[in-house]
Amino acid sequence: MLKKRLIPCILLKNGRCVKGTNFTNFRDTGNPVTTSKTYNSQNADELIFLDITATNEGREPSFDIIRSVADECFMPITAGGGVTNVRQIREYLLAGADKVSINTAAVENPPLIEEGASIFGSQCIVASIDARKKGDFYEVYTHSGTRSTGIDAIEWARKSAKLGAGEILITSIDREGTKQGYDIDLVKQVSDSVDIPVIASGGAGNLQHLVDVIVLGNASAVSLSYILNFTDQNLIKMKAYMKNAGIEVRDFKF
């Protein structure tokens, strides 16, 4: 049976790992290669890297970091941040990423999803969506959560899937780094409106949050950041807890 995935999400800024709250107040959390090796040794199911300043600085994504990680961690890798064209998708894949996430550029230029999926396959393209709750709807934000778009996040998720994205990474800006739990309503609305896997992101602070967003939010995977950086939880404890809650996770069996 296909497993529910635990995915450490590593935010990159100036070649270092960082973590903030609500997309601001970033703190340094370490070296990306060392950090990845730790998660790899704890049997993380996948890794996500987001270069959070590439778009706003208008520069090329950090291909080198992905290359260094992929040379030492033999596991699935999603890379993103600052991707605006097919050449960069190809470069990330050649560096050792298995999937590339597209956020701002997809909103500004939706055919990029279609183009990427037709060249590399849907399984390579992840639509990353940052959303903030506005009254009774969720609004898409771009440029690392700094620009509002007026676009409905659920609608945009549906459209991304239609264009050929193979997976959705949905991040609640309101919950990100707050340890208040995932925005289950947001994740569930996205999951129920697309038939591709949805990775829930933003808010994990304790182990029950992980179970809740999978059981109640229909998430296929959970993105983990604050909980790994600033609490005493780790991936091994998480898997044991989820397994006890009846969720199919990947065991390490030798």
């Binding site: 296909l2 992929a70 033999f74 399984q123 591709i196 030798f254």
Partner: protein, 194 residues
């Protein structure tokens, strides 16, 4: 794509020498062969034919009996034929055809993610692993093996499909050992030390 780099890095990591090559001379010199592959069956066979590698592969694998490991599409090309992108002849090292999976309406294709396999006891590639280890899969097509005695592991995704085959010196894996952490590295290590 990146698969080629990941496979060669994994083999290096395990301490073996590896050369990425599309030359028939290198195929003749190699002690063992690995055929990775991401892409379609038709393109894969077309590339082998255009680079004039098919006869070098046949003589290395069939006449000289060098161990060969096919990964994902690499394994699928071992079949007699495949239907991806039209009907194409394969290398014919393993009896059977490569067909699109039909997991049913509730399951999506491609089959992507970690899934556990059920391995037949005694296969040298799975030495040291549990009966049902998990591996990372990314594919929409699967080998329908005409002779079940060559199936060394199966996996289930809306129905059973072939996760690994072995016929003499020919080894094939539908999953990606180079992306399957310790268990995947163990499989590659078993191949290298064979």
């Amino acid at each position: 794509m990146g698969n080629l780099r990941s496979v060669s890095k994994a083999v290096e990591y395990l301490g073996a020498e590896v050369e990425v090559s599309n030359s028939d001379e290198k195929i003749a010199e190699a002690e063992k062969l690995i055929m990775p592959g991401v892409g379609s069956f038709g393109d894969g066979m077309k590339n082998l034919a255009e680079k004039d590698l098919i006869s070098a592969l046949h003589s290395a694998v069939i006449s000289e009996k060098k161990p060969v490991l096919g990964i994902c599409l690499g394994m699928q090309l071992f079949a007699e034929d495949g239907e991806e992108g039209g009907f194409h002849k394969g290398l014919g090292w393993v009896p059977g055809s490569v067909k699109k999976m039909e997991p049913g309406p509730d399951l999506k294709l491609p089959h992507v993610g970690w899934n556990d396999i059920s391995q037949k006891e005694g296969n040298p590639l799975f030495q040291g692993l549990s009966k049902n280890p998990s591996f990372y899969f990314v594919h929409s097509y699967a080998l329908e093996c005409a002779d079940p005695t060559f199936v060394s592991a199966t996996c289930n995704y809306g129905g059973e499909f072939v996760a690994a085959v072995q016929k003499n010196n020919v080894f094939g894996l539908q999953f990606h050992p180079e992306k399957s952490q310790r268990e995947g590295l163990r499989v590659l290590e078993n191949f290298i030390n064979m």
